[in-house]
Symmetry: D2
Subunit: 384 residues, 4 copies
Amino acid sequence: MSLQNPVFIPGPTNMPLAIRHAIDLPTIDHRGPEFGDILVPARDGVRQVLKSSSAEIFIFPATGTGGWETAITNTLSAGDKVLACRNGMFSHKWIDMCQRHNLDVQVVSAQWGTGLPAAEYEEILKADTDHQIKVVLATHNETATGVRSDIAAVRKALDAAGHPALLFVDGVSSIGSMDFRMDEWGVDVAVTGSQKGFMLPPGLAIIGFSIKAMAMTGSAQLPRTYFDLSDMQDGYSAVAYPYTPPVALLNGLKVACDMLLDEGLENVFARHARIANGVRAAVHAWGMELCAQSPDVYSDSVSAIMTPKGTEIVGLAHKKYGVAFGGGLGDVAGKLFRIGHLGMLTDVLALSGIATAEMVMADLDMPIKLGSGVAAAQEVYRKS
Amino acid sequence: MSLQNPVFIPGPTNMPLAIRHAIDLPTIDHRGPEFGDILVPARDGVRQVLKSSSAEIFIFPATGTGGWETAITNTLSAGDKVLACRNGMFSHKWIDMCQRHNLDVQVVSAQWGTGLPAAEYEEILKADTDHQIKVVLATHNETATGVRSDIAAVRKALDAAGHPALLFVDGVSSIGSMDFRMDEWGVDVAVTGSQKGFMLPPGLAIIGFSIKAMAMTGSAQLPRTYFDLSDMQDGYSAVAYPYTPPVALLNGLKVACDMLLDEGLENVFARHARIANGVRAAVHAWGMELCAQSPDVYSDSVSAIMTPKGTEIVGLAHKKYGVAFGGGLGDVAGKLFRIGHLGMLTDVLALSGIATAEMVMADLDMPIKLGSGVAAAQEVYRKS
Amino acid sequence: MSLQNPVFIPGPTNMPLAIRHAIDLPTIDHRGPEFGDILVPARDGVRQVLKSSSAEIFIFPATGTGGWETAITNTLSAGDKVLACRNGMFSHKWIDMCQRHNLDVQVVSAQWGTGLPAAEYEEILKADTDHQIKVVLATHNETATGVRSDIAAVRKALDAAGHPALLFVDGVSSIGSMDFRMDEWGVDVAVTGSQKGFMLPPGLAIIGFSIKAMAMTGSAQLPRTYFDLSDMQDGYSAVAYPYTPPVALLNGLKVACDMLLDEGLENVFARHARIANGVRAAVHAWGMELCAQSPDVYSDSVSAIMTPKGTEIVGLAHKKYGVAFGGGLGDVAGKLFRIGHLGMLTDVLALSGIATAEMVMADLDMPIKLGSGVAAAQEVYRKS
Amino acid sequence: MSLQNPVFIPGPTNMPLAIRHAIDLPTIDHRGPEFGDILVPARDGVRQVLKSSSAEIFIFPATGTGGWETAITNTLSAGDKVLACRNGMFSHKWIDMCQRHNLDVQVVSAQWGTGLPAAEYEEILKADTDHQIKVVLATHNETATGVRSDIAAVRKALDAAGHPALLFVDGVSSIGSMDFRMDEWGVDVAVTGSQKGFMLPPGLAIIGFSIKAMAMTGSAQLPRTYFDLSDMQDGYSAVAYPYTPPVALLNGLKVACDMLLDEGLENVFARHARIANGVRAAVHAWGMELCAQSPDVYSDSVSAIMTPKGTEIVGLAHKKYGVAFGGGLGDVAGKLFRIGHLGMLTDVLALSGIATAEMVMADLDMPIKLGSGVAAAQEVYRKS
């Protein structure tokens, strides 16, 4: 496997040099004053990336899964009711976690490849007249299917139902790559990780809590220590951590936020959209279909491309060309392959991924005209 | 704060170049075959460092605190009884975690500065004739007091009492720096982290489970997902993780184990002992006392030095000389300062820490003869 | 300019991670014994890459130009006669250097795009019956035109003429990328640099001297100190340098030689040939011509592609797509652009360069069918 | 040899992290516009460090020796007369170079350990009534003896004699560490390297030419190409190099200048003086003598300490403690050892070097009281 080639998995992403240098930090004293020069701007930067003015930002040495656990264990108690939609592997996993923590999950099943059904949420919420549902879960971007759901619509459903449930959003593979508006959409808990839009290695669970969500932490009975927010708040109030903080990754996060904000969030999103458009144009030129069933749910961070040869494509791309794509997970295992196009990718590198996919598919005797997808993407990249 | 100076906090430690390069790894596909070339030797290496032939090794993106939570949530249920001793900040915190997870903790309080009272453990265990106690907790090295307890003696207490309770050991600041014998001592769960003897940045909770401990996981009712061992085992059986693994840190762990085993564990321990002896000789020359009350409990990874000016020493060392020492925590806050001497330190660098401490204490008008501690340590380092 | 994209200049090349880590070396004592562990294998490795059993290897902190100066100032005296061919910018520059050092250069002019005219050399050497010509210069690979000359044929010309002149070869952009046989071809001085086939940053002039060439150094009268071989030999005999050696780059050179020899020189050359074939197939598909006028002189490290828009292509590729190509130099300025394909490049990255060139040429309204060159290269890369 | 310990050779120095990151730069196009963003500020920064408003700055991929060669070959012709003083190994070597380039060197011999005899220079210059002497050479800081000469006094000698000779100064181990005033002292050529005060790896010869020195280049007949200033000027006028520039080192030089100027040159000099004072206090406490014979010539970048065991000290320090000191060179070989204290050193690290020297001397049965030098240095460092 060549370390020279970029990766096309939907995270962790290719890392820019500035990030790699930021995390190549010698040990400093995490109880000394320099730590504040890292922690404070890192938390502030995340808040801005979330487009929130008031969210409390928590950063755990963990992954997005730890972020999910932080969200539920700090707000809920065994038996509490949660509304969630299963439309892909990652929404499925969050539901599974809730059940293992003895929450009562009302699951809406949607076809993998479709977005969250806001109308169905609205119906259920309207029917929940005694407000048993405490929290609504929503996966902004389903990494397994390349589907971006409409979080604003979920908020509208809550509002239309006049329902007080909180809205918890998994933005792991959207935040920093696609527009996310915590305050405007009334998101109460936003969960993400370091290894996607923030272009860092894995190792950080990054979570934003609204004032309303913070208010729930006092009564939440689910046991927790590692992911306990009050311990973390005590730490933050002393510019410290309740345990050893991952200083270098936090320094990387500070730099990543600076990079995103310096480029401008809207520019970052436009860049992701442009690169994604090129990939989608290639898929179209190949005569293939995305798992995402309509343009309104196309993800700008990952494209899942339907083909029964998905697994072979991933294997051969790795073995013959030293390139990593993503395979199918869960219900869509073996039915697709995925091209990740998030983080610090360029048009030029995206073309190398498209060209590799073409070679692999031709090698597998699929009816692909070499250069066709590349040409379609080139047209997109030339014009934008 | 100069990044040129070594740190003398009791972890995270100064990082060797080979470690820094091992973790400066571009993104690779964590679902591809190369990941196995990292994960498998990393787990094998940890097993050897633990001196175990059969332990199952688990490595979570977390810290030692996450390791504690892994230990208890995978083996116990609410209401289960646990025996523990509070003789420092870190044993205190593990007890607190147990209580927050609704365990019934029988706490033996020992003076901070003393080791675990094996005799008292034995008495309690003998009295527990119906074997209510499921687990005995033991902190091998109390980082807050510089006290190393005798884990073999705790095992003897269990055996003498004929008690079937499992033995869980916090070896965060001992493993990789001081002798640790998982199999010989009958340790059932060993918990450590990446940032101490393994010389890595923080970010990994490293846990070894004995066969007996693994057998408890099936019936354990404490809720868990992030730290769930069965998810992790499923992942490992496919040479993967249930979520995004910290590939670069795992690669660093592989290299760290190679370094420790290539140097030879006994040589590593002897090096730590030699450097620690020098520091202790300096303390003696200064006419000061260690928090650790007798030589049999002296820690080779950290020395806690009694003085009411502990906090000022730490502050001035940082401010005037750019050197980080550790302060007092919990019951000993303000009563001592700590010199960490673990990881990839050298005699030469240890002398710079001792010399700095002398200058700071003189600056604070403490009755210290400049050069006296250095001279005492030099004698130790010259002869060994 | 994105640092994410690979470069397609004909050197310095894209650097592999192992090289970057090898040169990220803290300061060590260049007069201490560790320096020998770097210098000795680095010199040995270079000798093997040159396919010589007996060459003396010299490595100066300089560039290939310094290597040229080393070659002539250590062997010749003012007024000495030298035979050389001008068929590109770099052969021109070496001739110019000889003239500025008061050598008498007999210049054979060949069309840029053709190789060295061995037959003409033979004629001149035969006519030089009193052996006035002391040295014959030959540029193995003209980086400016992408032309590889036949050094074995030059040797045959010398032998056919029974002429005792020494053969000095500029292998800056061939050695480590294309076959080079110092002993078999009877090369007396071979000159190269760190930043091409060795995949290092610029900063090292690397020179091999045959026994015959070494014998000339005693009588050579051209003034020299920095590039003096006897000073350097004195240094090497003490495993040292006459001035401060570039330790980290030398360490990188050691690692680079290991990488080349581990991959196998013939495999390295085959990889370069395959990637070059793909680029040439693309050029053909575009309906364009190489500067190199026939397949026997095609270079495997750089392709120069004829077009009056060469300069604009280079400029727009940089500005719009963040990709660096090479432009025309000297007689071919403005008449071509160059794609470098040497060092640690992959098929996949080469395709991104080809795709970028297509976009740029289309942007400049050149009659290029998008994807056509990519498809031609893909066919090459799929099959090999 | 531990890579953890600092080095105490008089250059190359310990490298700060910012420098190491600045030179860990992927390949960029040295003919593209980004190169100007490196080259221009690097040259400007050097000019400021030299305290010159008008000097032309040249930076060659070479070492200080290459800088000497640049100085003489661009200004002089065979047979030209040069005045120089031999008072150490490095002044000796520059004289030797001049002689090998057929210059007529009038050598003033001074005892090693003394500075340049300005009065003797003045006498000679006054006697040279027909101004045969074209250039006066002066070594600002003799690295071999730890002697700093008074360049202002040399200028005064020239002025007092009313002599038009140019003044060329070797500031390799002074510039960036001790005050250097190119314009005020009327220095015509200043030579330095990257690996001393600039804290970079070796690999750059850095030279400043006054307007008067530039005016000499037209008529200078010594042969040169690699070190030719007119080629380099042509390159610079196009923001380029006549050959492949060492881009990453130049980027490091830019950052190094920023660091020096941000700290403030006077603060940098004061820091060097303070650290040197501590080392000298230690030497005094040991009852030993410096090679430098009086305080007015003490160097702030290196201290040479007289002892017949110099060589053994260097060897044992390396072997037993993994610490690199400098040995004696030339006339003082075996008579001293040297402690380098330049670049990004700290008081704290300096103490580790002093402590190591004490241990080694005690190991060699020299009458050294352990801790005595440390204590003396501590007093210095505490107070300043």
